[in-house]
Amino acid sequence: MTNKRRVLSALALVLTISLTQPLLGQKTSSDSIKLPFQTYKLPNGLTVIFSEDHTTPTVAVNVWYHVGSKNETPGRTGFAHLFEHVMFTGSGHVPYGLHDKLTEGIGGSNNGSTTNDRTNYYETIPSNYLESALWLEADRMGYLLDKLDIAKLNAQRDVVKNERRQGVDNQPYGRVSEIFSAAMYPKDHPYSWPVIGSMTDLSAASEEDVKAFFRLYYAPNNATIAVVGDFDPAQTKAWIQKYFADLPKGQTLQRPSVPLGKLAASKRLVYEDRVQVPRLYIQWPTVGLKHDDDYALSVMGSILSGSRTARLTKALVYDSQKASNVFGFQNSAEDVGVFQVTVVPRPEATLTDLEVAVDQVLQKFIAEGPTAEELQKAKSGLELNFLRGLESNLGKANQLISGAVFHGNPGQFSTDYQKTLAVTAADVKRVASQYLTRSRIVLSVVPKGKKDQASKATESEAVSVLDGKRRGGRS
């Protein structure tokens, strides 16, 4: 979910958003999302967000660094994700293992995740352990490098390489995402390489390369911390002052504008994988999460697949029974986005048949747009998913920080919610005809030695892969 930047005045803003969007003409005035928050900034640039919820005596601490794989440089990919591992190996004043002891060891949990755009680190803990969680986060923000040596780096480098083997190289269809990234964007475009990086780059990273990356991007001015759950704001503010205020501000970051994906001509690729069943993937370049069309594109995804009466699902899985499953969805990052359709065929169906079947459904959809009922079903489903994402402290923290990082406003969720509910049938029809008629990439993943199973096999160009880097097929 998405939208435009709104400036937020700093201190103690408490908001309760009432949502009165009518659905099916029913009375909904009593429905509301209670997600009050306050936000402020430390002089070193650290953005702080608080949201109290005393339902259970637990609290989530979530730190986002506005750095992801797109901030890496070609030849040095995988650094942002590498840090996701290094950050759990101890820091200046925290010996290795204590982080887990003070989170998992007391019944809580911790983890981190990395995308193209941001990296997050979080813990959910019993509320009486909040101070130690803040101490842990401050120490790795300020003093990680004090304890980072080449032995530690090498150990984590191997862990990450193995993660790549398990999750990408040895995973059926595991390279689809990086094949698309390389084919969709020009060489050196920040979204053209995979988040996990390549084996060559991971091997080549020197201790100094890695440390320089940390110094630039893991400073308070590039971080946002959210505390959500059962806590006392005044006390917590004092702790944040105590542990974070003296961490030095980092270099001011340049954020170059990133061009959207755009294909001069459609591409047709085939990749041989160790799989038993072929699959068909189609991607169109669309827009990122700051663009208003993201709302209608998300609604379109829910109209095309996800339920048994969704357009693609009904046509391919239930009526013609050519596919065992089909997915269509808008996948939006901070600066770019794609709409993707994935089709898993039944044994007797060919990918060529399925591509034709998909196109027939889409052509009809582009011509007529959605019905009022299709629109309502899709929006209700998106609304449900959105609300369910706000059920946990951690979910609320991610929602608030995402707004702060990508839109400069933790309250962005209410705009996203309202704009999603405001999408019209005409909006969906327009984005369908605007984006689904563009040049696209069709990728067939086929069993080894079965290139003839690709959709329009004779027109498809083979993707050969060497060490995580795609060769060929790039225009």
């Binding site: 099916l24 429905d31 007391i106 803040l134 101490w135 009922e373």
Partner: protein, 151 residues
Amino acid sequence: MKSQRRVLALAAAIVISIANLAALAQQPLDRTKVPTPGATPVLRVPTWTKTQLANGATLIVSERHNLPLVSFAISFVGGGNQFEPAGRRGVASLATSMLSEGTTTKTGDQLSDAMQLLGTGIGAGVSGEKARLVLYRLRRTSTLRSLCLQT
């Protein structure tokens, strides 16, 4: 009154911050010191009511009003896979899978459309002792009854 209290709370926060800053100025923070945890918090268990329905089912209701969502779960004790007869393994999950395929009054498609219009997510699972049906839905005042009827 309320805003007065907020101002006081804010003032208290500022005082704490200033006191803290003063302390920092006096001696540098010893970061090797692991913060000691506060007192063990009291667990606040949500309240609920329990009713026996005329058809024998037990109904448990617990209210929470922070989001316009209602979730409910139906457990069929005896629907678990340990109750499957010999030679009919898998029948418990097959039965739960058939729940979305239609009823005597609605086809699978009609059921799916009705559920989607109400903003409903549904999940079904089978464990050793019971089968469980879980529903999440948007809270729309007049539609809860119709959903129950369809279920």
